[in-house]
């Protein structure tokens, strides 16, 4: 110690300083180890007392921990007031009194397993079904001058797009209820549809519409019904065979008018067809109807055309032989009624089957219901890439073990880059078309009205590793093959090029894409048909197909063209 004290003052000072330094360094440093403190759904609910009751539902049903895992979810979150209102509606005083099964269904109905922001909402269903299986529909309503976005028509969104770690939350002011009535029961419950109900029962359609679905996420087994109220029947008149004008406002009169076989249960009887013509396969909400030119019906080979005029959806409004035939408008505010096995719409006019003229069908090959479910990439501006397995497709089939993908470039990419020139900037990508993987691939087309059509197929060209494709329509080989390595011609006169069986199908054009007339077909039935592509060699690169066009032979084959990398058509 003495020696220590004897040290020069400078050294002593240094020693003290060093000791201080050592002690200071020994305090534990707090290092933040997490990179993200955003809460997940359940944690977010625990933080916010306003949502304690829905949290209780999650706890009771044991979904709470599941909603705290990582993933991409959308949660429609009812406020406590909404849950209390629900309890009053079902006559329970607390959540524990509600049957567990009901709570599970309710909880599942509020959750989607894809992240969907309000900007992706349309006038119809959200493309991803809820975990319960039923689809939710969105829209907007104006109440007392205040507009808000609605879910399933009844619930308004109070706070939208709350970002959490594993998805997004939209707060709603009503609990969404599972649609437990079938289409038939819903129709029967409405006294204004009493005559329509009688007709359904007389034709045996009531039972078909009353069948619950075995698998609620199977889009194909849903049905859409276009119903007409008693008032519409009241306003429909008919001159009976003895020359007297009668109203079609009773079942007897309807039978007199339509039932030519006197057996409404016979599918060939006109009264039965009257009903089956009003039943559409699949879920067709108004937003779907507004964008599809022709709707398949349950009446064999018959379709309903739809068009949007201003803000009215008109069914079967056509000019035939120069005469405008009045169509039936869909009653917007009443329609879009979700039922357990389908959806119900109202029309304002007693419409009937029409003779159809051939109309062009532009079949974007990647417009498949399974791809549409990929809401985070399907036709979004950012785009993306996703491969789906063979078993997932309803309308595409192939022979081998290969896979196909949806490929969407970012909107606005220069059209000479990759697939960006294609219509909607997306293609269906078929990897390595060859024996064992995919030799033959068949696509089910949209409804094609019977008539003569020229079929044009367009693709994104690549220089190597590909070859020829044979094309078949309904199993019949078409005269011309496609060379996937052939690039588009940019120099020849368009009409000369057309005569050689090629065209510049997009506008503006780039030689990266090409379009080939593969043949002319006589479509004998109005229905969905099949177009098949067969690889003629062992491809070792991806085949990028854009559109299969079916243009009536009397129509201009060049115009309208498709907007390169966009969603619209370009007229001359």
């Amino acid at each position: 110690m003495k020696r220590l004290l004897r040290l020069p003052s400078l050294l002593r000072l240094t020693l003290v300083f060093l000791i201080a330094l050592v002690f200071q360094n020994c305090t534990e440093q707090k290092i933040k180890e997490t990179t993200d403190e955003t809460l997940n759904v359940t944690a977010y609910l625990r933080e916010n007392k306003d949502y304690s009751m829905f949290l209780e539902i999650l706890d009771i049903t044991n979904y709470a921990s599941f909603m705290n895992t990582y993933g991409t979810y959308t949660l429609f979150l009812p406020t406590n007031e909404a849950v209390k209102q629900y309890l009053t509606d079902v006559g329970a005083s607390s959540l524990s009194e509600v049957p567990l099964k009901d709570l599970q269904n309710i909880a599942k109905l509020h959750i989607l397993d894809q992240k969907v922001n309000t900007t992706a909402f349309t006038d119809g269903k959200i493309a991803t079904p809820s975990l319960y299986g039923q689809f939710l529909i969105t829209g907007a309503v104006n109440k007392n001058g205040v507009s808000s976005v609605t879910v399933n028509k009844s619930a308004s969104i109070v706070t939208s797009n709350v970002e959490v770690g594993n998805g997004v939350i939209h707060v709603i002011d009503k609990v969404l209820r599972v649609a437990d009535k079938t289409v038939a029961q819903t129709i029967e419950a409405n006294p204004k549809l009493s005559l329509f109900t009688e007709v359904l029962k007389a034709t045996g359609w009531y039972d078909k519409l009353n069948k619950p679905l075995s698998n609620s996420s199977d889009i194909l087994s849903y049905l859409t019904v276009l119903a007409q109220t008693n008032d519409v029947f009241e306003n429909t008149t008919w001159k009976n065979p003895s020359g007297v004008t009668i109203k079609l406002n009773t079942l007897a009169n309807l039978k007199l008018r339509y039932s030519h076989l006197n057996n409404p249960l016979d599918p060939k009887d006109s009264l039965n067809l009257f009903v089956s013509y009003r039943v559409l396969p699949r879920l067709q909400y108004l937003a779907d109807i507004a964008v599809s030119p022709a709707l398949e019906t349950k009446a064999p080979l018959e379709v309903i055309t739809s068009r949007l005029e201003g803000d009215v959806i008109l069914l079967n409004q056509e000019v035939f032989n120069g005469v405008l035939e009045k169509g039936a408008a869909i009653v917007k505010d009443l329609s879009d009624v979700t039922c357990s096995n389908g959806v119900l719409h109202y029309v304002d006019y007693n419409f009937s089957m029409k003779k159809r003229n051939p109309a062009p069908v532009y079949f974007d090959l990647c417009d498949q219901p399974e791809f549409r479910k990929l809401t985070s990439i399907f036709r979004t501006a950012i785009g993306g890439f996703k491969t789906l397995a063979k078993s997932e497709f309803s309308d595409i089939t192939w022979d081998g073990t290969g896979s196909i993908s949806y490929n969407k470039a970012a909107t606005g990419t220069a059209i000479t880059t990759g697939i960006a020139a294609c219509w909607h900037t997306d293609v269906v990508e078929i990897n390595n078309m060859r024996d064992g993987l995919i030799q033959n691939i068949a696509f089910k087309t949209p409804v094609i009205i019977k008539g003569k059509y020229k079929i044009w197929v367009s693709w994104r060209q690549q220089g190597t590793k590909l070859g020829f494709l044979k094309v078949f329509f309904d199993g019949v080989e078409l005269p011309r093959q496609i060379n996937l390595m052939e690039s588009g011609n940019t120099t020849l006169d368009e009409r000369v090029l057309e005569s050689q069986g090629y065209k510049r199908y997009i506008s503006p054009f780039t030689n990266r894409v090409n379009c080939r007339l593969v043949g002319t077909v006589d479509v004998t039935t109005t229905a969905r048909h099949t177009i098949t592509f067969q690889s003629q060699s062992s491809f070792s690169a991806a085949t990028w197909l854009d559109i299969a066009e079916f243009r009536p032979i009397e129509m201009d084959q060049l115009w309208p063209k498709f907007a390169a990398g966009k969603d619209n058509l370009v007229t001359q």
Binding site: T119, F121, V146, S147, V149, V158, N161, L286, L308, A381
Partner: protein, 499 residues
């Protein structure tokens, strides 16, 4: 030995302390001037005022938001019916076009506006004290400077209130970090009142002539102020005052419409700018280019809507040479539908990139004339309104198919005609949405149909119903307050539509 160490130590300490006293401890900025050294002479005020104008041309270095003219273009056009998405449109831009707007949309950032407003506030606050420092500064000169700052601030608040409805009103400069930044919004009517008050004061102080064209059209004159006043009065329903304000411009004899001629008219009015048709323009130069060449031509974000040329300007199918000079190759390039107004040298030739200095037209004489027509119509003088439209149509060679024959007593028909003429005259000049909104909201939204019709024309089929339902709520006509602003300023309350 010890002495040697001590000496070395002493020298070292001396060296360190001497060099550390150098001016890098001085906190004065090297790339600017501090306030104590500024605001000394009238040249300082002039510098600050010119700085306000240049802040509206391009953002200052290090700031990444868009230029003022881009915001003015987008706020005035995106939600209306004359624009379509170009290949390089951003997702935010497309969402606004489709009435699909959420608060996180980046285009709802108002930072560029408040930045310039702060420059104006600084001038208004600090300039008067310069009089004590600089005896050569006369009261008239000081007033002139103040009128410029007041008018620009008023115009920016006017634009904000038309775009966001209720916005925070800050009339004092932000000089230190100790300022209160938590400012709640003021209602739209209060903003309009303040704008009118500022403009009236600015008019008292205003300059009538700076002595050269570039300043007369590039800086605030009494005519620019009266054009703004007429605009605000039309928004607030004070039609007699609006009429009086336009009279001050039309009666001055300094403005006239230039007769139509191939190439010369376009070149004079748009490509060169500062013509006798012009009242106030943002003066881009070849050394300070505007954003338009990029967003309309090189990487087109916006196009004219598919039917704009035919629907708005009309086409004479019997005589291709008979055309409205404002349409083909003035507003729109036919075929490609590019917006041509800001990129052309004349009707045939496009400017090259390095010369693309076309100005942004804030007010032109035709605007004042048509505002006058609108005021006359509201004051039951439909004849006068129709006469003004006829005169403009004659000078612009408008074609027969777009002419209408409204009864002078039918206000609605006349206002529809005025709107159609405004669409032709000011295509893509950032006016259309404000025009239809101003007319639609008049008399407690009597003409809401104008907005819904415009929306249906461009809405995607599967979202149409939602868009119409949304537009029935007046709050949806205004943009939301950006999420970032809500986060930093807790006193703000979001527009209830965007909950």
């Amino acid at each position: 030995m010890q002495t040697k160490i001590k000496t070395i130590l002493a020298i070292f300490i001396l060296f360190v302390s001497a060099s550390s006293c150098d001016n890098y401890l001085d906190l004065r900025p090297q790339d600017g001037i501090v306030r104590d050294e500024f605001w000394k002479t009238k040249e300082d005020i002039q510098g600050a005022v010119i700085g306000i104008y240049s802040s509206m041309l391009n953002s200052p270095p290090g700031v990444s938001d868009l230029t003022m003219s881009q915001y003015l273009f987008m706020y005035g056009e995106l939600r209306a019916d004359m624009i379509a998405a170009g290949a390089n449109v951003t997702e935010d831009e497309r969402d606004i076009m489709n009435s699909n707007i959420i608060a996180s949309n980046e285009l709802t950032s108002w930072a560029a506006f408040y930045r310039t407003i702060n420059y104006c506030n600084t001038v208004i606050d600090l300039a008067p004290a310069v009089k004590n420092e600089d005896p050569t500064l006369t009261q008239v000169q000081l007033n002139n400077f103040l009128s410029e700052a007041l008018a620009i601030r008023a115009y920016l608040y006017f634009t904000l209130a038309r775009t966001f409805k209720d916005v925070p009103l800050k009339l004092t400069p932000t000089l230190t970090d100790k300022e209160n930044f938590q400012i709640p919004v003021s209602p739209q009517s209060a903003i309009f009142d303040q704008v009118i008050k500022d403009l009236k004061l600015a008019d008292e102080y205003a300059v009538t002539d700076y002595g050269n064209d570039a300043s007369n059209k590039g800086r605030i004159t009494t005519y620019a102020i009266n054009a703004m006043l007429a605009d605000v009065y039309l928004w607030t329903g004070k039609y007699q005052e609006a009429l009086d304000a336009t009279t001050k411009v039309t009666g001055s004899g300094k403005f006239s419409l230039i007769p139509a001629s191939n190439n010369t008219w376009y070149n004079t009015v748009y490509a060169k700018g500062n013509s006798t048709e012009s009242i106030f323009e943002l003066q881009f130069t070849t050394s300070n280019l505007g954003p338009f060449y990029s967003i309309f031509y090189q990487r087109p974000q916006f196009l004219a809507s598919a039917n704009a040329l035919e629907d708005v300007f009309g086409i004479d199918f019997t005589n291709a040479l008979n055309k409205d000079i404002r349409g083909e190759n003035t507003s729109i390039t036919p075929g490609s539908n590019q917006i041509y107004k800001f990129i052309g040298l004349n009707n045939d030739e496009r400017k090259v990139l390095q010369d693309s200095d076309t100005h942004w037209f804030v007010y032109r004489y035709a605007d004042v004339l048509l505002m006058r027509a609108e005021a006359l119509n509201e004051l039951e003088q439909g004849d006068g309104a129709i006469a003004i439209i006829k005169d403009i149509r004659l000078k612009r060679r408008a074609i027969q198919s777009t002419s209408e024959d409204p009864s002078p007593s039918s206000k609605n028909d006349v206002i529809d005609y005025i709107l159609a003429e405004r669409a032709r005259e000011f295509a893509f000049e950032g006016k259309r949405w404000f025009d239809i909104l101003r007319v639609a909201r008049r008399n407690n939204y009597e003409r809401l149909d104008i907005l819904t019709t415009a929306a249906i024309a461009s809405a995607p089929a599967d979202k149409q119903q939602s868009i119409i339902a949304k537009l029935k709520d007046p709050n949806s006509h205004y943009l939301p307050i950006n999420t970032y602003e809500l986060y930093t300023n807790k006193a703000l309350v979001q527009n209830p539509f965007y909950k």
